[in-house]
């Protein structure tokens, strides 16, 4: 029973700790996809921005400047994606794969000298102060980026419905013909949305290298950027539902280490694969060959 509670607490804490990068990447992907383009390369963006954020924090000594650098790095790579995809006959899925390779390659190349040093970390917010249990306090030591992510999710959900910009992005994503008829530059809006999405995803990279696990190495990201793509489908393109989905996946990702800490280690690698299996199961469950998904932007290739 004691062990079960420990695992439960660790999973709850892990949902926030592991889920924060998921939250940012899925919000970035959500914004990109709302404009009718898919960015599979957010995996590369995540790795690159994690490296950039770590380097920024290490060189300036301020974790928050590091966060900004991470966002800018992510935006830069995503801008490349947006620009190349606007050329005729360029497939956005193939470009995403290329960006994945390029982002990881650049990050490993430029990040070689950053593997040893320590960078200042993003502070934690102790939400567990009310309890005197050590385990509860540890579980509720929340990444300071997490509340920012929650606010951002709510803000994006509101903005898509209530602002001119939100409407513009949704229009471009749902019908490029309508947007063109109104004299809107479809490529322009998509490039802007992709770049902004890259910035948001970059904050997720900062959360990886500057909070948890909190260092830079080449195995830092293992598919979080891709899981986020599936996560957005699961959340049916709603930023607020992305929040719930990110927490769910964070919890699933925390299951393996949590079980290992109470001595169940025989299936360590299989438990680590739970998020992937969960994603696949959700895709199988929600997709159908007969109809496009409810809530999907009409211009999006992946849901057609």
């Amino acid at each position: 029973m004691e062990a079960f509670l420990d695992v439960l607490l660790a999973v709850l804490g892990g949902a926030i700790r592991v889920g924060t990068p998921f939250l940012f990447v899925s919000l970035g992907e959500c914004l990109t996809e709302k404009s009718g383009r898919i960015n599979l390369g957010l995996e590369g963006v995540l790795v690159f921005s994690a490296m950039a954020g770590f380097g920024g924090a290490y060189l300036t000594g301020s974790p928050w400047l590091g966060v900004l650098v991470a966002g800018a790095g992510g935006a830069l790579l995503a801008l490349l994606h947006g620009l190349v995809c606007s050329l005729p006959r360029v497939n956005d899925i193939a470009m995403g794969i290329a960006l994945m390779m390029l982002g990881a390659g650049l990050a490993f190349y430029l990040g070689k000298p950053l593997i040893q040093p320590q960078a200042p970390q993003i502070p934690s917010i102790a939400l567990g102060g009310w309890s005197d249990s050590q385990a509860v306090q540890a579980a509720l030591n929340v990444n300071a980026l997490f509340p920012i992510g929650v606010l951002l999710a709510l803000l994006m959900g509101w903005a898509f419905m209530n602002t001119r910009w939100g409407l513009l992005v949704r229009m471009v994503g749902d019908s490029s013909d309508a947007a063109r008829a109104l004299g809107t530059s479809v490529s322009g809006v998509r490039i802007a949305a992709t770049t902004a999405g890259g910035f948001i995803a970059g904050l997720g990279g900062a959360s990886l290298s500057l909070h948890y696990p909190g260092s830079w190495n080449e195995g830092l990201s293992s598919g979080q950027g891709l899981i986020a793509v599936a996560l957005v489908i699961f959340a049916r393109w709603s930023p607020v539902r992305c929040l719930g989905a990110a927490l769910l996946f964070g919890g699933a990702g925390a299951l393996g280490p949590a079980l290992q800490s109470v001595g169940i280690s025989g299936f360590y690698h299989l438990f680590n694969a739970v998020p992937y299996v969960l994603t696949l199961a959700i895709l199988v469950w929600t997709c159908s060959p007969k109809r496009s998904l409810k809530g999907a932007p009409m211009e999006l290739g992946v849901s057609r």
């Binding site: 290329a98 390029l102 390659g105 490993f108 190349y109 690698h269 992937y276 895709l283 199988v284 997709c287």
Partner: protein, 361 residues
């Protein structure tokens, strides 16, 4: 003026060559910013890849699995699918190859080796056809599902290699029991290059023949060109697509089996070296044409071989080849925009003049 047929051919050759040249140029500028001499980097890239007999052998040895993993992208692509989970199929193929001796006693010599490679190909084929089936029957995007399946395959691989199948003698690096001496794949004609290269080339040739000469291969190309038209003429779309996925996956699985039987002699973490991901790039550069895959795989095998030389001689990080590949991939894709505009003649209107109908008097 009608479009000349040789324009397409010349363009199909010139575009990737120019794109690769652009990538090399960009890579030179990139290392120059890092304070390295680009001329020396280019020279070492060439010397490390094709400079002497030793580097040629190294290059060809790396090219063999790339040919097979590239097929895992190319064949589904010809059927209209973007499958990028070759890494998973490769890893499972390696696991199946190393795992078969645990399950049944194998005949010594080449029949045993054939069984090992068959197991590897079947494992990879089943894994990728799963992605194809999910897409055809459940509408799940195959790019995402194949990649997720890849991560799941790697987790399964680690679970078995570090658990039930672990050789107790492998202390620092968990491995399966090494394959018996007689089951391993040796070098060709006394060189370091193993028979895997022959398998790679033969598979590419077979795939090219299948696609261009057989009715079945033609049907697959019809499905890839226009799935709706294929259904209208009554082609079994689902079956064709899943077959193409299975054949592609079998290629990647075979690559894993060959890597185990010829290079590592047991399944361990060295197998997870990104060969599946490099295969994606090879296939895209070759425009998913099996024959073109052979030279492209040799070229990229050469880059891989030169990577260690760059690391040793110039102190470049080991990821420098990955940066070069990333540049190459982005520029190759961007160069698609130039298709039909590269050669001066194709700038002219490509439509034949409309026939002037005789006016009724």
């Amino acid at each position: 003026m009608l479009r000349q047929p040789w324009h397409d051919l010349a363009e199909a050759f010139l575009l990737p060559v120019l794109a690769l040249a652009g990538a090399l140029l960009l890579f030179g500028v990139f290392v120059w910013f890092g304070g390295h001499d680009p001329l020396e980097v280019w020279r070492l890239l060439f010397v490390g890849a094709f400079g002497d007999a030793f580097s040629w052998q190294n290059t060809l040895q790396r090219a063999a699995p790339l040919m097979l993993t590239a097929l895992c992208v190319a064949l589904p692509a010809r059927a209209g699918l973007t499958v990028i989970g070759g890494e998973g199929a490769l890893v499972l193929g390696g696991l199946a190859c190393a795992g078969l001796p645990y399950l049944l006693p194998l005949p010594v010599g080449w029949p045993g080796t054939a069984l090992l490679l068959l197991a590897a190909a079947v494992a990879g084929g089943l894994w990728i056809s799963l992605a194809g089936a999910l897409r055809q029957y459940r509408g799940v995007n195959e790019t995402i599902s194949s990649l997720l399946l890849g991560y799941i395959a790697i987790a399964l691989f680690k679970h078995f290699v570090e658990g039930a199948m672990r050789d107790p003698a492998s202390l620092n690096k968990p491995s399966t029991l090494p394959l018996e001496e007689s089951l391993r794949i040796g070098g060709m004609f006394g060189y370091d290059v193993h028979w895997g290269l022959a398998f790679g080339v033969a598979s590419c040739l077979a795939a090219a023949l299948w696609l261009s000469l057989s009715t079945h291969g033609f049907a697959v190309r019809v499905v890839g060109g226009n799935a709706r038209a294929a259904r209208l003429v009554g082609l079994p779309t689902n079956r064709l697509i899943i077959t193409a996925c299975a054949l592609g996956g079998a290629g990647a699985g075979l690559a894993g089996g060959i890597e185990v039987a010829a290079v590592h002699t047991s399944a361990n973490a060295s197998l997870i070296a990104g060969l599946g991901y490099a295969g994606i790039l090879v296939s895209f550069v070759a425009r998913h044409h099996p024959l073109a895959i052979i030279p492209v795989a040799i070229l990229f095998g050469g880059f891989g071989a030169a990577g260690s030389l760059l690391q040793r001689r110039m102190g470049l990080p080991d990821a420098s080849v990955q940066v070069l590949l990333g540049f190459a991939f982005v520029i190759i894709l961007a160069s698609e925009a130039l298709r039909g505009r590269l050669l001066p003649f194709s700038l002219l209107p490509q439509r034949a003049p409309l026939p002037t109908a005789p006016r009724p008097a």
